[in-house]
């Protein structure tokens, strides 16, 4: 048994407004280390979007857009949007696992902001979204997809994706905090996301849908995101409108789900 050498008077430590950022970053690093150690946890942002791209391009391409090549231009941003939404389930599952294992009790008993563990988990997820975006552009390139805009537009698309994903993430976080098992988190989130991703402009233009469905698909936040990505990568139209609509939807997600998730987290016993 060694004598205590490092002294650290906890009560004397000053706590400032930047602590939240600092603590969230420590916890984001935790989730990055774990991601690095279990790369199979990245399948949902690597192999599975590649699989979706190949399946949709070659199975539906000819039927929907006369040729796989033409369809890919339409489809690729759709797949990105769909998989950004699907990837958000991961954070809910992670929070649920943290609660089950008791590590959240440790965090809650520490003198840190109560939202730091939630923010940390979300920040750690950024890597996943960047990876997804890069892999999709590479896959697209291999299949003949060409970006027609500037690198600034591409970067803008990536930032928009991250903002959207982090805002949407509060919803699966809430589910993760409420559900009683990881399997339940998966079930609940996918049950919501499947109709949301398909009833959008991700795979087919909304014009072919019945009027009621078309109006839902056009209002769908994912449709706005996908339109913005299309405009920013291949100049399908002005990007300003869809970008603003995407940001408004992101704000809506945060305003609704962030307080609910934080409240639920604080009340967990």
């Amino acid at each position: 048994m060694s004598a205590t050498a490092v002294t650290h008077d906890l009560a004397a430590v000053k706590h400032g407004p930047f602590d939240v950022i600092r603590h969230s970053w420590v916890l984001a690093k935790r989730s990055l280390v774990k991601t690095w150690r279990t790369p199979e946890g990245l399948i949902d942002v690597t192999l599975s979007p590649i699989m979706f791209t190949l399946l949709f391009t070659f199975i539906f391409g000819g039927a929907i857009a006369n040729s796989p090549g033409q369809y890919l231009v339409f489809l690729l941003p759709g797949i990105i949007g769909q998989n950004i939404a699907f990837a958000s389930v991961g954070i809910g599952i992670q929070l649920n696992a943290d609660m089950e294992k008791g590590i959240f009790d440790r965090f809650r008993a520490l003198p840190i902001s109560r939202i730091a563990p939630l923010l940390g988990a979300a920040l750690g997820d950024i890597v996943r979204y960047v990876l997804l975006f890069g892999i999709m552009l590479a896959t697209g390139y291999a299949l003949g997809y060409r970006i027609t805009t500037t690198p600034v537009h591409v970067l803008g698309a990536l930032l928009l994706i991250i903002v959207f994903a982090l805002s949407l993430a509060w919803a699966p976080m809430l589910v993760g905090l409420l559900a009683r098992s990881q399997r339940a988190v998966q079930g609940i989130v996918f049950m919501t996301l499947f109709p949301l991703t398909f009833a959008s402009n991700a795979f087919v233009p909304t014009e072919t849908m019945p009027a009621w469905l078309a109006s839902f698909a056009e209002a769908n936040p994912l449709s706005h995101l996908i339109n913005a990505i299309r405009a920013l990568l291949t100049e399908t139209g002005p990007w300003q409108g869809p970008v603003v609509a995407t940001l408004i939807w992101s704000a809506v997600f945060v305003v609704i789900f962030a307080p609910l998730a934080i409240r639920t987290y604080n009340r967990k016993s």
Binding site: M1, D9, K101, G102, R108, A109, L110, P111
Partner: protein
Amino acid sequence: MIPNVSGCTYALPMSSENAVEAHGLVKNFKETKALRGVDFAVPRGTVLGVLGPNGAGKTTAVRILATLLRPDAGHAMVAGFDVAKHPSEVRKRVGLTGQYASIDEELTGRENLIMIGSLLNMTGTNAKARAKELLEWFDLTEAADRMAKTYSGGMRRRLDLAASLTGHPEIVFLDEPTTGLDPAKREDMWDVVRDIVARGTSVLLTTQYLEEADALADDIVVINHGEVIAHDTAENLKRVVGSQTLRVRPSDPADAAAVSVILSEVSAGAAVDQPRKGELAVPVVGDKALTSVVKKLATQKISVTELSLMLPSLDEVFFNLTGERQKPELTPEEELSA
């Protein structure tokens, strides 16, 4: 005021001399009354043992004191701060080690401790040095760079305790620190607790074992169904429950009555109990009881298949304190299968 087991009333000394003070804590979970008005105090630099069976409310009390739960009524002061009004001040001064290890299994032991140090605003260098120091103290240096999921139960408990001690807390809550550990590991854990106390830390320890409370605690609170049924020093408590239990199993069950008479002659004033079929038990004080019983059994030519002297079980403590046999509490596993 809580009636104590030695017959007089025991006024809780409420002052800044106490590291922890609980006043009339009440907590209900839907239908379950987890705490029905619990009072106790941990004087600075001492160990309070909270003794009780599963479901008695021990964990609930600890979670309230560690600011993880809000009480429905009553209040608690920890390190001089009200847990409900100044939770973050309390969090700066306490460490909590729960029944289930609160560590990240996918990080190594060292990474777990560095993470906690960083969350306590230590500099990177200090967090690393503190982690190293704790790993040495808890005999985890060799396993330091292995993922915690590869650790044995005892190692996890030690890492969990190390994590709780990262910030040099004034007060440590240990919620059943040895439940599920084998006897040798239990003794190791006791040594660690003694070490923590020797450094001036106040400890609140919950346990299901009188032996553990006796080994570590200055004062013992016995809690059952969310109520304090005794609050006294370990010494006084043992005087009432008997410092040890003498068990006898006569070979011929027909001798039970005669054995009961013999046992009542050496008893410390409590009634002879029949914990299991064909077995008689009585609390005894002093070291003459066993010899005296053996002599009497020999004189009356009663043969026995079992004869033992041991610290009373929790069940016997309750029997001696309340005169009632405990209803077996369901463990969580049993509740699931019920």
